[in-house]
């Protein structure tokens, strides 16, 4: 029963990615400007440009080109960068790790920090007031503003963290990516905290919690088995979307901190009209987003037995 639901969800995932691939490819197809002109340089003749255009197969109809691209993708070939004359895959390889590290780091900060703050503000009324004010400010701070403040304070003034770059090796990366991760996480953390607070407060009022209290169950067990356990359902649904949203926020933060990752590569490739790279990165970001969402959906099947029944 649960397997069928999971299979259905995975099929939906495949369809979404397929549709997204058409949209991504189509958007760049329609984008103004000819990459051949750019590649040939300022002094190129018409004949040279025409040659490059033909080499890049830019004259072929849309679906032929899309099909070639898709065929390549399915065979693990992300295409070749016009600019660097190198397979996109080998350009991405060193950058992927930075981005994965950064996004994972930020996700952990969001989930751990958001849950802890939200739970604390739901259970301790006085503390809750302060936390609500702080998270309100956090929620209103965009990541590029947070980045500037963090760099100024922690990197420049107090010299606690490096200003620039992604680092190499685990510890060095951790050091380099702490500020970027915090900048990326801040508003989502605030959001998750407020969401957790609301979800736990809703759950506190539920009758089954009253039953548990009436049976003499210890407060810490009520919190873990009844409050958090049940509140996890809305929390994980929404925070799954927030984590997926980090992938978009990542572009800004990598630029701000000079982290050489997928986000900053996407920006520079777009500026250079390096279509193959843009397409590849965009598709990876979309696919990750969709996969994270699907994982959250599947995870909530495990959290909530009532959902399993509905699908049967």
């Amino acid at each position: 029963m649960i397997l069928r639901l999971v299979a259905g969800r995975l099929a939906m995932l495949a369809v979404t990615v397929a549709v997204a691939s058409i949209a991504i490819y189509g958007a760049l197809y329609l984008a103004p400007g000819n990459p051949a002109t750019l590649l040939a340089g300022g002094h190129a003749t018409h004949a040279e440009i025409r040659l490059i255009t033909r080499q890049l197969k830019l004259t072929e109809p849309f679906f032929t080109r899309y099909w070639d691209w898709l065929f390549g993708l399915l065979h693990g070939n992300l295409g070749e960068s016009f600019l660097y004359r190198e397979p996109v895959a080998s350009l991405l390889a060193p950058r992927v790790l930075n981005t994965v590290f950064l996004v994972t780091y930020a996700s952990v900060v969001i989930v751990v920090g958001g849950l802890a703050l939200g739970l604390a503000s739901a259970l301790f009324k006085r503390l809750g007031m302060g936390i609500t004010i702080l998270t309100g400010v956090g929620l209103a701070t965009p990541s590029f503003v947070a980045a500037i403040i963090l760099i100024t304070l922690f990197a420049v003034d107090w010299k606690l963290f490096p200003v620039f770059g992604g680092g190499a090796g685990f510890v060095d990366r951790l050091d380099h990516l702490t500020l970027p991760a915090v900048a990326l996480a801040l508003s989502w953390l605030a959001y998750t905290s407020q969401l957790t607070r609301t979800a736990v407060e809703d759950e506190v009022k539920k009758e089954h919690v009253e039953t548990a209290r009436g049976r003499g169950i210890a407060r810490r067990h009520i919190v873990t088995r009844h409050l958090l356990r049940n509140a996890m359902i809305p929390i994980s649904t929404v925070s799954g979307i927030t984590v997926a949203g980090l992938i978009a926020g990542d572009v800004v933060v990598e630029q701000a901190f000079g982290v050489n990752g997928l986000g900053s590569f996407l920006v520079s490739s777009a500026l250079d009209k390096d279509f193959a790279s843009v397409q590849a990165v965009a598709l990876i970001l979309v696919a990750t987003f969709v996969v994270v969402n699907a994982l959250v959906d599947i995870w909530s099947l495990f959290l909530d037995p009532r959902l399993r029944a509905k699908g049967a």
Partner: protein, 340 residues
């Protein structure tokens, strides 16, 4: 010695920022193994009274008077002794099992939770509750325990709740309208099991209901509450012939008879007052056909009358009159469809 003793219990609730008295004066004793039915209309305070016994009142509620469990004051218990009291001496069966059982945990987890909390080995706890499910008429216990609450019918889930209450071998059961949320056909089924288990184990019970006939059938005594006051406390067996308070007689008369077909159902005139609306004099006098000047000025105190207690100035007179007149509440105005 009484297992439970309520002495001038009064409860204030926080409403719109201020404390208002909802339960005014409830006094009764419950002997070991005895069942008392707390009967009354909505707002009479019966549910709050039962919840006060397990200290499960809304936030900000204030309790006055005494609630003693085997001589120990429940209102003064420390957090730790309250926990151990709830874990081993008293268990509550709630009205709506669907809402009162955590929907995302397995039935087996719900059943064993209190035992495990008490330090019982998990396997032993499972054994105990498996046996209990059989005694409340659930046959395929092992399968049921792996299921989730939404996979069980309301009647089945309420029997699970009863088994969970029995699991800690309490001395006192609190049942807050345990069959009200169920459909009629399963009500009697659930009630039969609850009654059999209670009698078989010799448990004391506070049974909250607005179904007077049901209370008479399963309880030893009936305590009638009106507007936060205990107005009568009589043995269940004699209540039909010898109800002392006009309100009790009104309740008895307004129940449709299964054998006698009437044009209209009897009803007590007026609407039921809640504990919030109490004024001077007898709390029931605004709806009482026998009210006199004295009733409007002076609140009757609860006093003993034979083997019962009643709070009515005219109880003796009316009892005499009732005997000679014979009828079952013919003194009440008769209306249709206004049963509070």
């Amino acid at each position: 010695m009484a297992i439970l003793h309520l002495e001038h219990l009064a409860i204030d609730l926080q409403t719109a920022g201020r404390l208002r008295r909802v339960v005014h004066d409830v006094t009764f004793r419950l002997a070991e193994g005895e069942a008392v039915g707390l009967v009354g209309e909505s707002g009479a305070g019966k549910s709050l009274t039962s919840r006060a016994v397990i200290r499960l009142l809304p936030d900000g509620a204030r309790v006055h008077g005494a609630i003693l469990m085997e001589g120990r004051s429940i209102t003064d218990m420390s957090r730790e002794s309250l926990r151990s009291y709830r874990l081993s001496e008293v268990a509550m069966i709630f009205q709506d099992p669907r809402a009162h059982v955590n929907p995302v945990r397995r039935v087996g987890d719900f059943l064993t939770e209190a035992l495990v909390e008490r330090g019982e080995d998990r396997k032993k706890a499972l054994e105990i509750v498996t046996g209990l499910l059989a005694t409340v008429g659930i046959e395929d216990a092992e399968r049921r325990m792996r299921q989730y609450p939404h996979e069980l019918s309301g009647g089945l889930l309420q029997r699970v709740m009863i088994a969970a209450a029995l699991s800690i071998s309490p001395k006192l059961l609190l049942a807050d309208e345990p069959t009200t949320a169920l459909d009629v056909t399963t009500q009697s089924d659930v009630m039969v099991h609850l009654d059999a288990q209670r009698r078989g184990r010799g448990l004391a019970m506070v049974f909250v209901t607005h179904d007077l006939e049901l209370a008479i059938a399963v309880c030893d005594r009936i305590a009638v509450l009106y507007a936060g006051h205990l107005v009568e406390d009589s043995p269940a067996a004699h209540l039909h012939e010898k109800a002392l308070h006009p309100y009790t007689r009104g309740l008895l008369a307004s129940r449709p008879s299964p054998t006698l077909r009437r044009e209209r159902l009897a009803a007590i005139p007026g609407r039921p007052l809640s504990g919030l609306e109490v004024q001077e004099g007898c709390v029931f006098c605004s709806r009482c056909a026998h009210a006199q000047e004295r009733c409007q000025k002076e609140r009757p105190v609860l006093r003993e009358l034979g083997d019962a207690r009643v709070a009515c100035h005219r109880a003796e007179e009316l009892l005499e009159g009732g005997r000679s007149g014979g009828a079952d509440g013919a003194e009440f105005e008769v209306r249709v469809g206004d049963r509070g």
